[in-house]
């Protein structure tokens, strides 16, 4: 099944999107500014609710225009990342509940378990595709739930 993981460091918040063959992830929200998608592995057909999809092969980039909702379908196993600057005002659109955003910004958590953490170097656990077929529509509410869960709240 298509899957969403989260990560964060001291400057950015990352949505890590994982797709098995033929699966789709939609973001059920649009932002007031464009943002970038990094197709880090695989081949995807990526567009929005407005813009006709285009094929992108890793490592590829896609710009989601302002006011449009991302739709991404894989033609083979694929991972794409959507990074956001933590202190950017656009984060207030991603997290409309101020207390959640405040907790996210103030936390030292990386929102993920590490396979190795020696203080200098941190490696997240190897991400595993969920091979049960299924698509995801990511709402802001489910993003908040996932974030609070990752924060352990």
């Amino acid at each position: 099944m298509a899957d969403i993981k989260l990560a964060k460091d001291d400057h950015s918040f990352y949505i890590i999107n994982m797709l098995d063959i033929g699966e789709q992830i939609q973001y059920d929200w649009a932002l007031s500014r464009s943002y970038s998608v990094i197709i880090s592995s695989g081949i995807v057909s990526i567009g929005t609710d407005v813009t006709t999809p285009a094929t992108r092969t890793a490592i590829g980039l896609y710009r989601v225009p302002l006011g449009e909702k991302l739709i991404c379908t894989s033609t083979q196993q694929a991972v794409f990342l959507t990074p956001f600057i933590l202190d950017d005002a656009i984060m207030e659109e991603l997290f409309p509940i101020a207390s959640t955003l405040s907790q996210l910004r103030g936390s030292s958590s990386y929102l993920m378990p590490f396979a190795l953490d020696d203080g200098t170097l941190k490696f997240g656990q190897q991400l595993v595709y969920d091979t049960t077929p299924g698509n995801i529509s990511l709402s802001l509410a489910s993003l908040e739930t996932k974030t609070l869960g990752a924060l352990g709240l």
Partner: protein, 165 residues
């Protein structure tokens, strides 16, 4: 062979590394200091494809093999040590992700060999809606994936072994 590319997006700059065979060094070397991966700010990376071994070196100590990593996985590094890495798969891709701000770029300027003009281009607000490739290059450096020994250097013939007729 390693391909290295620096690209700006709306809010970040990306360092893309693609390696096309085993035993190739992945980490970058500071051209001024000769140090590897002693990054000026916390660096986030995503290992997108393949596998690699990772080494750390503190001060003048030896390289210590720390871990073997396989994609996909997220990684974070803060520069208290030198970082080295060698591909152990025939194809390897990784992405470094950094905020595109003046202060971050100023810190990374010597490490990435950026010019003032390139930084101006990266921060130009009229370029925000474009992906801008700042530069790219290709290099070959073969390293031992267990010891981080430079195999390119050790394959050279020493002067003392050359007989002049």
């Amino acid at each position: 062979m390693r391909k290295f590319k620096l690209i700006t997006t709306q809010d970040h700059f990306l360092v893309l590394v693609e390696v096309q065979n085993e035993n190739q060094e992945i980490t970058c070397i500071d051209v001024d200091t000769g140090l590897r991966g002693l990054y000026p700010t916390e660096a986030a990376g995503f290992i997108a494809e393949g596998s690699a071994t990772v080494f750390l070196k503190f001060g003048s100590g030896d390289w210590n093999k720390i871990n073997e990593v396989a994609a996909p996985c997220m990684t974070f590094f803060s520069g208290a040590a030198e970082l080295g890495s060698v591909s152990t798969s025939s194809s390897y891709r990784a992405i470094g992700i950094h905020p595109k701000t003046q202060s971050i770029l100023d810190q990374w300027k010597p490490f990435l060999g950026l010019t003032d003009d390139q930084i101006t281009t990266m921060l130009d607000p009229t370029m925000r809606e474009s992906f801008v490739e700042i530069y790219s290059y290709t290099m070959v450096r073969e390293m031992d994936p267990d010891t981080f020994e430079d195999l390119t250097t050790t394959s050279l013939v020493l002067d003392s072994e050359i007989v002049y007729l």
